[in-house]
């Protein structure tokens, strides 16, 4: 059920105070993956911004408007004045809305983070788009790329409206995203990454498309510290499959090993592709995540 925000609140996802602090923050990608469109992210190449970059010799054919006439008057030789180029960065957010995220506030935390990253992108004149995957075989719900402060409410409304449920695995969702997405930038994947598929191929595809991967794994407390014992029949929330486990209490050690192993593997795969990975608990306070954890990790400035 959609929770309507009070009139004083901009969105039910985040508190106004948090939004206010987020407006002054911006994403800090490791790589300069920008589009040709003008934006506020400085590109590596020369451009037409007001920020000086370098000088070079004039060659015939260059636009004479960029000749530094002061130097020409002193040295009697023409030099071209170069400026930095500011381009637009595409911030893509992939929100896993499958059934596995419908446990203990995982989905709500994913929407809050998506709203936060989206707001940071919009406030820094980036192109922001949101993909929400539900059911396998269906196209993910899409918030088309938008930019600017005016799109803020649109972003919030979109996120507030989406509902969870479905069996879309995250690896398939990434491939579905890439079929519709164009542009370079940063992709923030908000998921529990609990998939039977292989994450190597979709991450490679993201890298090839010029998207810096920022994976945030959101796990519930039950997944982090399961409290089970005896003989249990586990039921998968997405597929409905069952798994009989005897003496589950004895296997918790092994479970923790596998969970830590999955975390290490995902982090390694993201780092290998110039990306970043972070695993958080759905019960961790959002303020601590946004203003402490992500800052310390250098995800945001």
């Amino acid at each position: 059920m959609e929770i309507l925000a009070p009139k004083s609140q901009l969105t039910s996802l985040l508190d106004n105070q948090v939004l206010h602090r987020l407006e002054r923050m911006r994403l800090a990608p490791r790589r300069r993956l920008t589009n040709r469109s003008r934006g506020e992210h400085l590109a590596g190449k020369g451009g037409t911004s007001t920020e000086f970059n370098d000088f070079r010799d004039y060659v015939p054919g260059d636009d004479v408007r960029y000749v530094d006439w002061n130097i020409f008057s002193r040295l009697h030789r023409p030099y071209l004045k170069l400026y930095k180029h500011e381009e637009e960065m595409h911030v893509v957010m992939l929100v896993d809305a499958s059934s596995s995220m419908q446990f203990e506030g995982k989905f709500e935390r994913a929407k809050q983070l998506a709203a936060s990253f989206g707001l940071m992108g919009l406030m820094n004149v980036e192109r922001v788009s949101v993909h929400v995957c539900h059911h396998q075989g269906q196209q993910p719900a899409l918030l088309p790329p938008c930019t600017g402060r005016v799109s803020r409410q649109r972003l919030f409304s979109f996120l507030e409206r989406i509902e969870g449920g479905g069996d879309f695995p995250i690896d398939g969702a990434i491939e579905a995203l890439l079929r519709r997405h164009r542009g370079r930038g940063i992709v923030v994947i908000l998921s529990d990454f609990l998939t039977f598929g292989d994450m190597e191929r979709p991450l490679n595809q993201l890298y090839s498309c010029g998207l810096e991967v920022c994976g945030i794994q959101i796990l519930s407390e039950t997944e982090l510290n399961p409290d089970v014992t005896g003989d249990v029949r586990f039921v998968d929330s997405e597929t409905g499959e069952t798994l009989d486990v005897s003496s589950a209490g004895d296997l918790l050690g092994l479970y923790h090993e596998h969970r830590a192993s999955l975390e290490r593997e995902l982090e390694a795969q993201c780092r290998l592709r110039g990306g970043r990975f972070l695993s958080i608990s759905s019960q961790a306070p959002i303020e601590w995540v946004l203003f402490d954890l992500l800052r310390r990790r250098g995800w945001v400035q």
Partner: protein, 627 residues
């Protein structure tokens, strides 16, 4: 290694319960369903667990396995398995328990007796008795007594065992073995006999063993001192010397105080110190003009493991002269008797005088006077029952050989004596023919016996088949010696010169009125009715308790007889490590009794523990064991 056996093998049918157990397990198995976000991690865990642990397939159904194991243990317990003690099990086992006096010895101050130790071992045997095994308890000392038939009734066996007490007698094994042999012949096949004893038994037994003997040696008692001999000898007209012999066991040095009580009053006291295994003789002088009861008590200083050998009894008769009857015709004997002290000779010089009873009769015929005397000597008389075996011919005969150690002919030289009576045995009559009639030949002639001795009950008779007056014997030095020996025998028979102490076992024969009923009261208060024989002898009365036995006739006390242990073997507490049988030697077993060990209780305990483990395993808090 002995394979286990099952007594109730038919209980194996209960294993069929496994089928419904497994069926119901899978039909009724309901695991709690728990919806989780994804099975990804748990499936990896399960796959990893299967790879790492080869028993995971079983562990998946751990509860089923535990239930199968539990049921199997219960069914196995119901099958009553047992571990065989030997390849051949003894289904019928006679148990011989020594209950002689030495089994009453304590191992330490305030400790338990050897019999209690043996009882404890037998109780363990009874408790571990399997349903198809049967025991027969046999107690033995001087004789054997079967306490129970072959039975598996544990209550009956325990009751019989509880009633078993130490008998104050020595030990002998033959009766018990013969009884067991009889059981083997009449009852069942008996392969092994279990014998529990402290080893204080004869080391050599004349018995052909038809079965094996498991000789279980109970550790002997501690140090002991006891009285092993007592007798009294006349020391004058009205005095006796009481001799007591003290012995100590091999365990250690012992000291004691010996007290002599005459008719319940203290009459003497001595202190003794005995080295291990040594003995000492003490003499007490007692004045007694009338019949008196003597009791010698030993008061050990320190620990004494056996107290039944600490007291002895002896009854001294009235001091009186020996009453002797000698036929007036036997002047040579009368002449020799006159020179001896302590006798009264009848008839007197004038041919007058008589006594109601004579202690010794010397006569030329088997007249009625001699019939009642305890000792009779017939001169020139052939007993009526020997008339067909021997006859007297005229002629010269000489003594060829004689029993020099017999009480009558001791220190008597008979060589060279000539007699004109020549006894001849009938043709074909050997010495054995006389022995069969109860006669012992004391002197041999060339053609037949010359002097015979016959004991009939308590009565002793000597027969001179030749008349001494028709021989050179009265002129020899040996003649007065023979008469003195005869008087000495009379004194002994009349208990006038020496009184022995009596051992437990059987009451010594007592000479009383013929064909009368008597009541014998034992020291523990038991009564037995006995009837005297035609000769007035009562015999065969069991006397297995130390103390004074009272013989009464119509509530009138007639006689007291003191009975004591007086067994040096029992007092020594010596333990034989081996028993020699005619064809084999049995060693004492150093190991305890190996009996079949039932396992049902162990299995039931395992099942209970398994139940607890299962309960704990499924009820314990999560995160316990990490594989």
């Amino acid at each position: 290694m002995n394979l286990p056996g099952f007594y109730a093998l038919e209980s194996a049918w209960f294993f069929l319960l496994l089928a419904p157990l497994i069926l119901f397990y899978f039909l009724k198995l309901k695991r709690p369903r728990l919806q989780i976000s994804s099975l990804v991690l748990w499936r990896q865990v399960i796959n990893d667990q299967r790879v790492n642990s080869p028993f995971q397939r079983f562990k998946r159904n751990l509860l089923l396995l535990l239930q199968i194991l539990l049921l199997s243990l219960l069914v196995l317990a119901a099958m009553q398995p047992f571990i065989r003690s030997a390849p051949q099990r003894a289904e019928y086992l006679p148990v011989l328990i020594d209950c002689s006096a030495s089994m009453g010895a304590l191992d330490k101050p305030g400790g338990i007796s050897r019999l209690d130790e043996a009882k404890a071992r037998v109780r363990e045997l009874i408790d571990k008795l399997l349903p198809d095994q049967r025991l027969s308890l046999i107690a033995f000392h001087l004789t054997a007594r079967r306490l129970t038939d072959f039975t598996d009734n544990k209550r009956l066996l325990h009751q019989a065992l509880d009633k078993l007490t130490v008998s104050q007698v020595g030990s002998r094994l033959e009766d018990a073995l013969r009884m067991t042999q009889a059981l083997a012949r009449t009852e069942q096949q008996i392969g092994t006999v279990l014998m529990l004893t402290d080893g204080n038994i004869p080391a050599e037994v004349e018995f052909e063993l038809p079965f094996e003997v498991n000789f279980q040696l109970i550790p002997p008692g501690g140090q002991n001192i006891g009285i092993t001999g007592v007798n009294a000898r006349r020391a004058g007209a009205r005095s006796w010397d009481v001799f007591t012999r003290l012995e100590s066991s091999l365990a250690g040095q012992t000291s004691a105080r010996v007290e002599l009580l005459q008719d319940g009053k203290s009459a003497g006291e001595e202190s003794v110190l005995l080295e291990p295994g040594k003995s000492q003789r003490l003499v007490f002088r007692v004045e007694a003009s009338a019949p008196t009861s003597i009791e010698v008590r030993l008061h050990p200083e320190g620990f004494d493991s056996l107290n039944t050998d600490n007291v002895v009894f002896i009854d001294l008769p009235e001091a009186r002269p020996l009453s002797v009857y000698a036929s007036p015709e036997l002047s040579t004997y009368r002449h020799a008797l006159k020179g001896l002290e302590g006798i009264t000779l009848f008839p007197d010089e004038n041919g007058a005088g008589s006594a109601p009873e004579y202690d010794l009769v010397i006569s030329e015929s088997e007249e009625s006077t001699a019939q009642d005397a305890p000792v009779a000597c017939y001169i020139g008389v052939v007993p009526a029952d020997l008339q067909k075996l021997v006859h007297i011919e005229d002629g010269t005969a000489s003594i060829v050989d004689w029993h020099r150690s017999s009480e009558l002919l001791e220190h008597v030289q008979l060589s060279g004596i000539q007699t004109t009576d020549d006894p001849h045995s009938a043709a074909g009559v050997q010495d054995a023919a006389y022995e069969q009639l109860g006669y012992e030949i004391l002197a041999f002639g060339r053609a037949g016996p010359l002097i015979l001795r016959k004991r009939t009950g308590a009565r002793l008779a000597y027969y001179f088949l030749f008349h001494t007056d028709r021989s050179t014997f009265p002129y020899r030095v040996g003649f007065p010696i023979l008469v003195a020996n005869l008087v000495h025998v009379g004194l002994q028979q009349a208990s006038l010169s020496e009184v022995p102490g009596h051992q437990t076992g059987v009451l010594p024969p007592q000479s009383l009125q013929p064909n009368h009923d008597y009541r014998v009261t034992s020291p523990d208060g038991g009564h037995s009715e006995v009837k005297s024989s035609e000769a007035g002898i009562i015999s065969g009365v069991p006397a297995q308790t130390i103390g004074q036995y009272v013989i009464a006739n119509e509530e009138k006390e007639l006689l007291r007889v003191g009975i004591s242990l007086l067994d040096a073997e029992e007092t020594s507490l010596a333990a034989a490590q081996t028993i020699e049988f005619p064809e084999t030697t049995v060693q004492a077993s150093e190991t305890s009794i190996q009996n079949d060990r039932p396992l049902w209780s162990t299995l039931a305990l395992c099942a209970f523990c398994l139940l607890l483990v299962e309960w704990w395993f499924y009820q314990r808090p999560p995160g316990g064991l990490v594989p």
